[in-house]
């Protein structure tokens, strides 16, 4: 059964190749069916593979072919099947499938439809490689592959320069992270001589070659890689810009899957991170700072997708906080629930944008509840889920992060609670401004409003169901123990990642749960009074007076800061190189060098005078010289 795993990436790859090379004359529905069918087959196969891991961890390496073979070390193209990779498999292919189906409706009028589906397939392929690879080298292939796909999809509407800029920004910032990952890999390889997970983590012996500051540095470098991919401070700026891509892309890549690659990598390397307290602290602080930053910026954003994007940044920050505190399985738990409700929210926002004819500004929306009933319901479920109100998915995962923080570090606990409160507030602000109140758009838009087709709403419904019940896979430990509901996920992952065992009484945990719920409800109520009862609206850009508000709306001026301290100097160096080094030094040098062959050529040219006899004479002369050596 485990052998089937090598089939999983093949489906999307075949889908991609088929659509790119043979998809020219096919109808859009056929293309969509091929694209989502490929993912569906991968999903089915993933379920089969997943069942092998259900009863006790049973890690298996499935080798496909040799990749790099040297006397010193080998890297195979082989796949690892263990609880961590299979659970990622499930939600990549599952959520991926839903988003593919959604895309058929969302992108139906787009002229680049084939290209879009093909790219999505390719993306899923690389994501699967990333997750399934049995070594850092294989993961790196997928890592770069998803980067490329992300680039292509952000800049999907390449005719608009802003999209291209966003794509470039994402790509370049990701490169910075990748450099960290490469350095981390190099350090690991340098000290242990292998990049394979089973050598590094399962047999333990290899990993012991790494200790002290080497260990800390390696872990921090790996984390820099994760920062790039998962948009952590200071490499987070690309993610909100990446919303330039089509909404399904935002849902699939920039919320549910690719950005969680960083979490995956850190969880995969949990042995390294838990051995390094320094690196863990770095991860924790970077995570919580990102969480607060994202949450505060999200408060003031008016673009529906930007709000969700900063919310993603903030949630990712929370996940890293959990990772930093050693709660790897809880971070993975939050990744999964987050994948459900964030995909749901993005797809819902896509549905709204679709209905609004491309409008993304929530100040121009309002009162969509009656026009888009299904979207409204599912969006509301997503909002409740992310806000952490029981018994929806977000509550369980987020509550456990807070619980861990309570155990580990009171500062973290406070900050995480704040983030949680802010989350509930900005999400309900978004919800109220979008779906409640009265319609603020143009008359034409109002006339145009319609519920999305079934092909889009069904994925919404499925995701909404998942958002409601997804949390039960990780029922809180103590309370669950008391109620005889096991924490299934922890149990499932316990042999794969390092475990933080919470030692908490039923009472404490219950109080924390209630506290979290109350915080969320209060935030929700504030949002309700502010935007529903008082009918307050988000301010237009030129109405903003408060400096705090201005700072938040401008995203703490981080982009401007980067512009000043990084881009300007680099530009200056580049200008210097272009204006001075290139023409004055390199060009001149090349010109001078080129004189040598042309000079020699003008000499040799004389020999080619077109007289056959001369050629024959030369040939005979050569023959004579050659033969005279025999005499």
């Amino acid at each position: 059964m485990e052998k089937l795993v090598s089939l999983i990436p093949v489906f999307p790859l075949v889908g991609f190749l088929y659509i790119i090379f043979l998809g020219k004359g096919l109808s859009k529905n056929t293309i969509g069916a091929i694209g989502s069918g490929a993912i569906f087959l991968a999903f089915i196969t993933s379920i089969l593979v997943f069942t092998t891991q259900l009863h006790g961890a049973n890690p298996t390496i499935v080798k496909v072919i040799d990749w790099i073979t040297t006397p010193k070390f080998d890297i195979d193209i082989s796949f690892i099947v263990d609880p961590l990779s299979t659970i990622y498999l499930l939600f990549i292919t599952g959520v991926g499938f839903l988003i593919h189906v959604y895309s058929i409706g969302y992108m139906h009028e787009d002229e680049g439809f084939n290209r879009f589906i093909a790219y999505l397939n390719l993306f899923v392929f690389f994501m699967l490689i990333l997750v399934l690879g049995d070594s850092y080298a294989m993961m790196f292939v997928g890592w770069e592959g998803v980067g490329v796909c992300s680039f292509m999809l952000i800049g999907f509407w390449y005719k608009d320069m802003a999209n291209n800029d966003a794509a470039k920004k994402a790509f370049i910032i990701n490169r910075i992270g990748d450099l960290g990952l490469i350095l981390g890999m190099c350090m690991i390889f340098f000290h242990t001589g292998t990049l394979r997970y089973d050598d590094l983590f399962i047999s333990e012996s290899a990993a012991s070659g790494l200790h002290g500051w080497d260990l800390h540095l390696a872990a921090i470098f790996l984390f820099i890689g994760a920062m790039g991919k998962s948009a952590q401070i200071p490499l987070h700026t690309w993610l909100p810009d990446a919303m330039a891509g089509p909404t399904p892309v935002s849902a699939l890549i920039h919320a549910a899957t690719m950005v969680t690659a960083g979490i995956y990598m850190v969880a995969r390397s949990s042995a390294i991170f838990s051995a390094s307290d320094v690196a863990s602290d770095v991860v924790m602080w970077a995570g919580i700072l990102t969480a607060i930053l994202g949450a505060t910026i999200a408060l003031t954003q008016n673009d529906i997708k930007k709000v969700l994007a900063y919310s993603t940044v903030s949630q990712l920050g929370l996940m890293f906080t959990a990772l930093g505190m050693g709660a790897y399985s809880i971070a993975v738990f939050h990744v999964i629930t987050h994948a459900f409700f964030k995909a749901l929210l993005f797809l819902g926002s896509g549905s709204v944008i679709h209905a609004m004819g491309g409008e993304q500004d929530i100040r121009r929306m309002g009162g969509l509840k009656s026009h888009l009933p299904i979207t409204h319901i599912t969006f509301l479920i997503g909002t409740i889920a992310i806000s952490g109100i029981p018994p929806l998915a977000g509550f369980f995962s987020k509550d456990q992060i807070i619980a861990v923080a309570f155990e580990e570090n009171m500062i973290m606990f406070v900050l995480a609670s704040v983030v949680s409160a802010l989350t509930a507030f900005y999400m309900f602000r978004l919800y109220f401004l979008t779906f409640r109140g009265s319609f603020r758009g143009t008359h034409e838009q109002e006339h145009h409003l319609h519920e999305s087709p079934k092909v889009m709403t069904i994925p919404l419904i499925v995701l909404a169901v998942l958002s409601i019940f997804g949390g039960f896979m990780g029922f809180p430990h103590a309370v669950g123990h008391a109620m005889h509901v096991p924490h299934w996920l922890d149990h499932f992952l316990e042999n794969t990642v390092e475990m933080e065992v919470l030692d908490m009484s039923v009472g404490t945990e219950s109080i924390l749960m209630i506290l979290a719920t109350v915080i969320a409800l209060i935030s929700m109520y504030i949002a309700y009074t502010k935007y529903m009862k008082n009918g307050e609206l988000a301010l237009e850009d030129d109405e903003i007076t408060s400096s705090t508000h201005q700072t938040l709306a401008s995203k703490y001026y981080i982009d401007e800061l980067y512009e000043k301290i990084i881009r300007r100097p680099v530009d200056a160096i580049a200008q210097f190189a272009r204006n001075v080094v290139e023409p004055k030094i390199i060009d001149e040098l090349v010109k001078q060098v080129s004189l040598i062959p042309s000079g020699l050529g003008s000499v040799a040219k004389a020999a080619q005078n077109g007289k056959l006899v001369m050629y024959v004479l030369a040939m005979i002369a050569g023959l004579i010289i050659l033969l005279s050596t025999l005499i």
């Binding site: 006899v613 004479l617 005979i620 002369a621 004579i624 033969l627 005499i631």
Partner: protein, 167 residues
Amino acid sequence: MLTEYAFWFLSFVAIFSALAMIFSKNPVYSVLSLILTFFAIAGHYFLLNAQFLAAVHIIVYAGAIMVLFLYVIMMLNLNRLEEDKKSTWMKFLSVAAGGLLLFVLLAVVKRTDEITITAQAANSDCGLVENLGKVLYNDYLLPFELASILFLGAMVGAVYLSKKELA
């Protein structure tokens, strides 16, 4: 005895008609002289017990290649070739080169006296069709097939080149 005389006779004919080939002003005579040379060479092959090769030599060279030469010369009506005057310097150079090459080659041949080749248990049948065919179709099958492809290419090329539309 007879074969020895035959060798000298054939060699004389070959060399004499080869000289006639390069010195005759009329290209038709050149062609005919060369044909004579080829007959003499075919005779050599017979003497060396390579009957198959001799027959093929006649068929291919005399029967096909030289006919083509003759055909082209007749068709282009090149009865008298315009030979431009060459500079004496060039003539001298040519003579020197040719003479030197002859000298060097003769010296090399002379050297072979010192190298003794122990003649193998003479298999005088090696020129027979059957033996040649066995070698050709067993050891040299690939070159043989490639040669046929070469031929096909040459044929197509020749036909294409002589199409009127190109002119």
